[in-house]
Amino acid sequence: MIAVEVKNLCKGFGGVQAVKSVCLSVEAGERRAIIGPNGAGKTTLLNLIGGLYPSDEGQILVFGHEVTHFPDYRRTEFGVARTFQLTSVFFELSVLDNVLLAIQAIKPYRFRMFRPQRVYRDLFEKAEMFLNKWDLWENRNMLVRELSYGEQRKVELIMGLASDPKILLLDEPTSGLSTAESAYLAELIVEMGKDITLLIVEHDMDVVFSIASRITVLHYGSVLVEGTPQEISDHSKTKEVYLGWKDPSGNTKGG
């Protein structure tokens, strides 16, 4: 079953074509990494799939349903969720409130006006579960603004997972983290990604090779090559495009 399919997707900003006729097909349960140099259009592609802005041309299908013309807030109905490269949480609210809002988003009572939120115990139980799992329960009443950067990234991730998505779009989840933190996060991602489809935009090659089952390489808005991690690391064009990255065997290529 194909989870996400993108057909001839195009997006331009002013005079710049950020995404040119990109075609992509991600199987359910796959962990697909999208890599490429800066300006390759990775984040734009993710934003298009997430619905942040509409595409100029092309189609986006989620589990067979065409979502091309649906705005971002409708795509969660199809099981899509995302995280942002620049931590985009509710900084002035507490950790608990951030998670509650994220879980509430898909609940039928999210529009209720005359009953206090605390009546909905399922909301709190699920929040507690997440916060315990990610080691944030102690700090649940702290404002996110007061957390360390790494913990803020954790909140960012939890918010992506809170709606029990079938497809999670991760935009540079380890951005700004140290090597150790990145590795730890990568482990968490592998574990949580067991039953869902992951689409990850990443720069950190260690993370990419530890997580991804397939890799798509973007270059100047088009797909350069696609394949398993081994195939990609052997591919000559990729090496050209990425001077100086490590292959899975630990050797540094290029120079």
Binding site: F90, E92, S94, K107, F111, R112, F114, L143
Partner: protein, 330 residues
């Protein structure tokens, strides 16, 4: 509690509960000791509290600052005035219900224009549309009486339980308004603590993220605006009942500025902040205007001082004093 949605049922919640009950008890007994002037002033404060709290749904919770909220005040007031005087409808409940519906209708219509924009632009548009409405009210003399306004509106006469309750007595009117005050505040409290209210805070903090999470944010904003409008209209209607009079000034920029001042000075980030703002402003207005005609200067100075030194308002400042670890106003 400043505006994070702390859910702990701790000691602080019981303290707030006790204070609330005590305050209600006090307000119920006050008419016995105050002069008629004091009772009338307090009644006015209740009405303006409903007005300022309604604006704060937009400012404090949704994060949208409106400079045209007087529109709803006037809409509600005129709806009531026209029903009561020109259409001669005396039924209290009918009049109030009709006022709310007219307020909702205006909110639904205006919201279509105003809720497409945000931030500074929203401020401008609400100012502009507010003035447009004022101009219409002021010009349409045959309907609204323009600057001279409409008068001859009588206090509600409730006929219930076999009794007639005339509210021409200032003290009984006080209790009627007090009931509305408690009712409105309770409703608003429920709204801000509900999933809907929590979502509003999320939108204020980061609307894009709310959309990514799956919230149809426009709907929330629109509804919030309509609710603010409905409560504002109710306040306007109650004011007409108190004054038995209304004129175009109820839609003016002065009125919009006044209610904004109440929210800012009282504190937008504390639930009861606007009530405190209404209280302070009305007291100052009434006392100051008997000593000097430079009321305008005082308002200006109060606003400037508040913005520069008390950005969180008096209530916000007080809460911070009590609990220094509460977050800074953004």
């Amino acid at each position: 509690m400043l505006m994070t949605l702390s859910h702990q049922r701790g000691k602080s919640e019981y303290i707030y509960f006790v204070i609330t009950v005590a305050a209600i008890a006090l307000l119920l007994c006050l008419p016995k000791v105050l002069s008629i002037y004091g009772v009338t002033l307090l009644t006015e404060i209740f009405i303006y509290s409903i007005f300022s709290m309604s604006l704060n749904l937009l400012i404090g919770y949704l994060g949208y600052t409106s400079l045209g909220h007087a529109t709803f005040f006037a809409v509600g007031g005129y709806a009531l005035a026209l029903l009561a005087s020109k259409a001669g409808i005396q039924n209290f409940f009918f009049c109030v219900a009709a006022t709310l519906m007219v307020g909702a209708a205006f909110g639904l219509l205006l919201g279509l224009i105003t809720m497409t924009v945000s931030g500074i632009y929203f401020l401008m548009i609400t100012l502009a549309t507010g003035q447009a409405f004022w101009a219409a009210v002021w010009s349409w003399r045959s309907f609204t009486g323009g600057d001279d306004g409409l008068s001859g509106i009588s206090r509600p006469m409730l006929v219930a339980f076999g009794h007639r309750w005339p509210f021409s007595n200032e003290i009984t009117f006080y209790y009627l308004i007090f009931i509305f005050f408690i009712l409105c505040l309770s409703l608003m409290y429920l709204i801000v603590k509900s999933p809907f209210g929590c979502a509003l805070l999320g939108i204020r903090n980061n609307e894009m993220r709310m959309r990514a999470l799956g919230y149809n944010t426009w709907r929330y904003k629109y509804l919030c605006y309509v609710m603010a409008g409905m409560f504002g209209s109710l306040a306007g209607a109650l004011k007409v009942y108190q004054d038995c009079f209304i004129n175009a000034s109820s839609a003016s920029i002065t009125q919009s500025g006044l209610v904004l001042l109440m929210v800012v000075i009282g504190g937008a980030r504390v639930f009861l902040g606007p009530v405190i703002g209404a209280f302070l402003i009305q007291i100052i207005a009434n006392i100051v205007s008997s000593y000097t005609e430079y009321w305008s200067t005082m308002m200006g100075v109060a606003l400037i001082l508040s913005v520069m030194f008390f950005p969180e308002g008096i209530a916000g400042y007080a809460v911070r004093k009590v609990n220094p670890s509460t977050p800074r106003h953004k």
